[in-house]
């Protein structure tokens, strides 16, 4: 294809993408002149451009649409839904033709005349069947902005540059190793440092080159939602947030199908018909909101609908019918566990296969696709109030954070996204047993299937040695498997390269990479390994776990703590939820000063705590990287120990503000660090001697995930269920109030901003600043 033609195709695509939203907006309000103008300009430009090429059909179509739109602009015709559909049908056909031109295929024949005839006022229905065809197949194109100077590049070229830079990084690592081996050579060190610096800059720039705003995914959604809701007789408003979040172009493509699928399901099964919504006391227009947030090197995508929520009874029935669980198992399962069943293979909640969803592609495929790229998906749902899908995906496909382990004398890498926890095989909390050929490990009262990595890879028997380490891998929301390895090495960001086909066929590996020391290492393909050992699709195990959990329903709330030995020689523990990751840095990265230590990790400076004055940390220092979701800080530890789960009360130790208190664990005293105090001390938030107490709905996942950190950051302590007095309570308005103790003040969160505005104590649940303000004023009242 010659360049001129390629430009024509790309430009037309760009315009198509840009007007996708305009079309829907225009349909919603046909009197809107600016939208009409935008669409008119599009067909006009297409018509003009195809004059240069020999595309009579494109010209005829765009000419007809232009004529009709000109009539509308002149006020000669009114844009009723019939006319809108006919125009949309023409735009869809233009998209198809452009795709055909791009692929160099024969243009699909026929039908154009029907579309053009449908533009006339008195030919009902002709355009409708075509109008609903999906436009999601559009290829993405590079965004261009009028204010920036841009050039158009083939994506393959970018990929080549990217892989070249990745190779340069590996070559640099290799060189660094050789320089170290050769001994100090001051004349080389300077230039080498400089090379490293430049390389890091280039790598970052190239990574940014491959980034696209998530808008490219969003652009097609208003149209998709509009077409689906029209087809299903529903009214749905779509709210897109965070379109400026950037992620890898490839990743955007990987997300297109899962997001489309979730939206289809939400409109088909989630959002009710307008009459049903009115009957349920909701607005007749359903709201579908999609938001994107970046946190560190991961993106969180949330798809929320305010429909009827997941029908657990129906999901349960289907699961029983599909043989995934037995009636008895189902009866013992909690609501959350039943909801998770929608990710099980072979389950579709559609009563009949409709044109929209239930085409045999289930949520299991969505989950598999997301996990393939190192992401996770979870769902929460409240009956009558809606469903929320959380997708967490890495920013890019090419660099994967991984844990390196060894088994059978060889090293392997495990993608960090699967690793839940690491326990020592010799820990007293672990018991092993064998049922048939299957090894089981009992840990925290859960039976977890246990695989020996050496055995999985055909290098040894499946006996598990007490001296081995157990890596707990999360396969699904409730599925764990323990993988026994000989040793755990390091956590590294690895540039993963594809393997030769003959090796890929084994199914055990996802790729290969070179470690910093220049040795190749294989990246394990966790889902396939689990499937090969009969574990991935075991919904029964899930049910069994649920049964077990429900046997002791309301035990004391268990806390997970990470234990370690601090530099003062004392054994301490910190809440696992604060620990983001574990790093190891050379001593040079630490800067010690009277005002407070700092450490450089990667390319950021973190406040550092835990190093006693005058103590010598040695050559490398292990760090816990802690996050309270707003700030991060590093805590230096001398030795890392197990993670524990405990229901024991913490005995307060008022004389030391940095400690939450003492905890008795297996006859040993552990000093539990107060995460709040740590952050208050080092991140310049005003310290508070006595924190007011706030109760939030503990059974609401949104509250625990989103609200809790925010409330904590505002200087509150979260109330425990047995707290008699709370200073303030936050309730979600459509849930029943759960005031159990004396409440001084209450903030009600509404999902609807209009209702929230009418109530004195009401706050729209996504209005962060209003919420923070309400918390702040409540705290001042208390002080006053």
């Amino acid at each position: 294809m010659d360049d001129l033609l390629a430009d024509f195709v790309a430009e037309t695509r760009e315009m198509l993408e840009a007007i996708g939203g305009e079309i829907v907006a225009w349909e919603a309000d046909p009197a809107d002149g600016t939208r009409l103008d935008a669409i008119f300009r599009f067909v006009h430009t297409v018509k003009g451009n195809c004059g240069f090429f020999d595309f009579p059909r494109l010209e005829k179509l765009s000419h007809a649409a232009e004529g009709t739109l000109a009539d509308v602009r002149a006020g000669r015709r009114y844009p009723d839904s019939h006319l809108v559909n006919a125009v949309l049908a023409i735009i869809d056909r233009i998209t198809q033709l452009i795709d055909a031109i791009d692929a160099g295929q024969e243009l699909p024949e026929g039908g154009d005349d029907g579309l053009i005839a449908a533009l006339e006022p008195d030919t009902p229905g002709a355009g409708e069947s075509i109008a609903v065809q999906s436009v999601t197949a559009q290829a993405p194109s590079t965004a261009s902005s009028a204010t920036l100077r841009t050039i158009r590049l083939p994506v393959e070229l970018l990929d080549r540059v990217m892989s070249g830079v990745s190779d340069m990084v590996l070559a640099r690592n290799d060189l660094a190793r050789r320089l170290r081996e050769a001994g100090a050579e001051p004349t080389l060190d300077g230039p080498f440092e400089r090379l490293t610096g430049i390389l890091n800059d280039v790598r970052e720039a190239v990574t940014r080159m491959r980034m696209q705003r998530i808008e490219h995914l969003y652009n097609a959604l208003p149209r998709l939602v509009r077409d689906l809701s029209a087809e299903l007789g529903k009214q749905v408003m779509v709210d897109l947030d965070g379109g400026d979040v950037e992620l890898d172009r490839e990743m955007i493509e990987m997300m297109r199908d899962p997001i489309t699928h979730i939206i289809r399901n939400a409109i088909d099964h989630g959002i009710e018909s307008p009459t049903a919504r009115l009957a349920a006391g909701k607005r007749e227009i359903g709201l579908l909101s999609i938001s994107a947030r970046q946190s560190g090197n991961r993106i969180t995508l949330t798809v929320t609908d305010d429909g009827k929520g997941l029908d657990t009874e129906k999901v349960g029935r289907k699961a029983v019918a599909a043989g995934l669980v037995t009636d008895a198992e189902l009866a013992a399962m909690s609501r959350e566990n039943i909801i998770e069943l929608i990710f099980a293979p072979g389950l579709s909640t559609a009563d009949e296969v409709s044109a929209v969803s239930g085409r045999g592609v289930g949520m299991d495929v969505v989950r598999a696709n997301i996990e393939r790229v190192g992401g996770t998906i979870s769902v929460s749902s409240r009956p009558g109030a809606g469903t929320q899908f959380h997708l967490q995906i890495p920013l890019t496909l090419s660099i994967i954070s991984a844990l390196t382990v060894s088994a059978g004398g060889q090293r392997f890498a495990i993608p960090q996204s699967y690793v839940e926890e690491i326990v020592h095989g010799g820990a007293k909390a672990i018991e092993f047993s064998t049922v048939g050929e299957t090894r089981l490990m009992v840990f925290r009262e859960r039976r977890t299937p246990c695989l020996s990595l050496a055995h999985v890879l055909g290098m040894g028997g499946n006996e598990v040695d007490r001296r081995q380490k157990m890596v707990l891998l999360r396969l699904g929301p409730t599925d764990l498997v323990a993988l026994a390895v000989d040793a755990i090495h390091d956590q590294e960001d690895l540039v993963v390269k594809p393997l030769a086909p003959a090796i890929m066929q084994t199914g055990a590996y996802a790729g290969t990479t070179l470690l910093d020391d220049g040795n190749p290492v294989l990246m394990l393909d966790v889902p396939t390994i689990a499937a090969q050992n009969g574990l991935a699709t075991d919904a029964r195990a899930r049910a069994a776990v649920a049964t077990h959990d429900d046997n002791q329903p309301h035990e004391r709330k268990l806390r997970r703590l990470l234990t370690f030995t601090a530099f003062d020689g004392r054994r301490k523990a910190i809440g696992m939820d604060l620990v983001m990751r574990i790093d190891q840095v050379p001593a040079e990265a630490i800067d010690r000063s009277a005002t407070g230590d700092t450490v450089v990790i990667g390319e950021k400076i973190y406040p550092l705590v835990g190093l006693e004055q005058g103590c010598d940390p040695g050559e490398t220092v292990k760090l816990l990287r802690l996050s309270d979701s707003l700030d991060e800080l590093a805590y230096a530890v001398a030795e890392l120990d197990d993670s524990i789960e405990t229901g024991e009360e913490v005995m307060p130790l008022p004389e030391d503000a940095a400690l939450e208190g003492l905890l008795l664990h297996r006859g040993e005293q552990l000093r539990v660090l107060d995460g709040f105090a740590l952050f208050a001390l080092r991140t310049s938030v005003a310290t508070q001697t006595e924190r007011p107490v706030c109760r939030i709905p503990r059974d609401d996942e949104w509250a625990v995930r989103m609200l809790e950190p925010l409330v904590r950051a505002a200087g509150y302590r979260i109330a425990e269920p047995d707290d008699e007095h709370v200073d303030i309570e936050i309730a979600i308005a459509d849930q029943s109030a759960l005031a159990t103790g004396e409440v001084g003040h209450c903030i009600r969160l509404y999902a609807d901003p209009d209702i929230a505005a009418k109530r004195a104590d009401g706050v729209f649940r996504y209005d962060r600043s209003a919420l923070v303000e309400a918390l702040r004023s409540a705290r001042q009242e208390k002080v006053a």
Binding site: D174, A502, T512, L514
Partner: protein, 142 residues
């Protein structure tokens, strides 16, 4: 015009690989085995900060394996680089003839991996089909 060939020895037989297929000849360092991979895949090795798949040519031809040689030619097939473990790597030679069919048969495994015979200064040599070596003994149908 005659073509250049990299001369190798497998199981004492002289063989040749089209020099255009060969990226370089490397000193083989440590080889990291790949558990569960087909038998003719000896493992992975690092070359100038890339990892290469090492093919044991003797095993690919259904012969027993031998000790690891020092040097191996590197070939690139379908975007993957492979190091070929052969008994010996010799010079690069010009062929004195076009590849020709061998009278009779090379023998079952050699037949699959061979593309013909060429005449060189060192005598007749089997022209090796690199793809067939990489595919290994399993892909007999191909």
């Amino acid at each position: 015009m005659s073509t250049l060939y990299v001369m190798i020895e497998i199981d004492g037989r002289l063989a040749a690989i089209d020099a255009a297929d060969v990226q370089s000849v490397i000193e083989v360092g440590s080889i990291y085995p790949v558990p569960r991979a087909p038998g003719h895949i000896a493992g992975l090795t690092a070359m100038r900060s890339q990892s290469l798949t090492v093919i044991d040519c003797r095993k690919a031809l259904g012969l027993p394996s031998q000790t690891v040689p020092e040097r191996a030619p590197v070939v690139r097939v379908a975007d993957h680089s492979y190091a070929l473990m052969v008994d010996r790597v010799d010079d690069v030679l010009e062929s004195r003839s076009e590849p020709a069919a061998v009278p009779g048969n090379f023998g079952a495994d050699w037949q699959r991996a061979g593309r013909g015979m060429i005449e060189t200064d060192r005598g007749p040599a089997l022209l090796v089909n690199v793809e067939a070596l990489i595919a290994g003994p399993r892909a007999k149908a191909a």
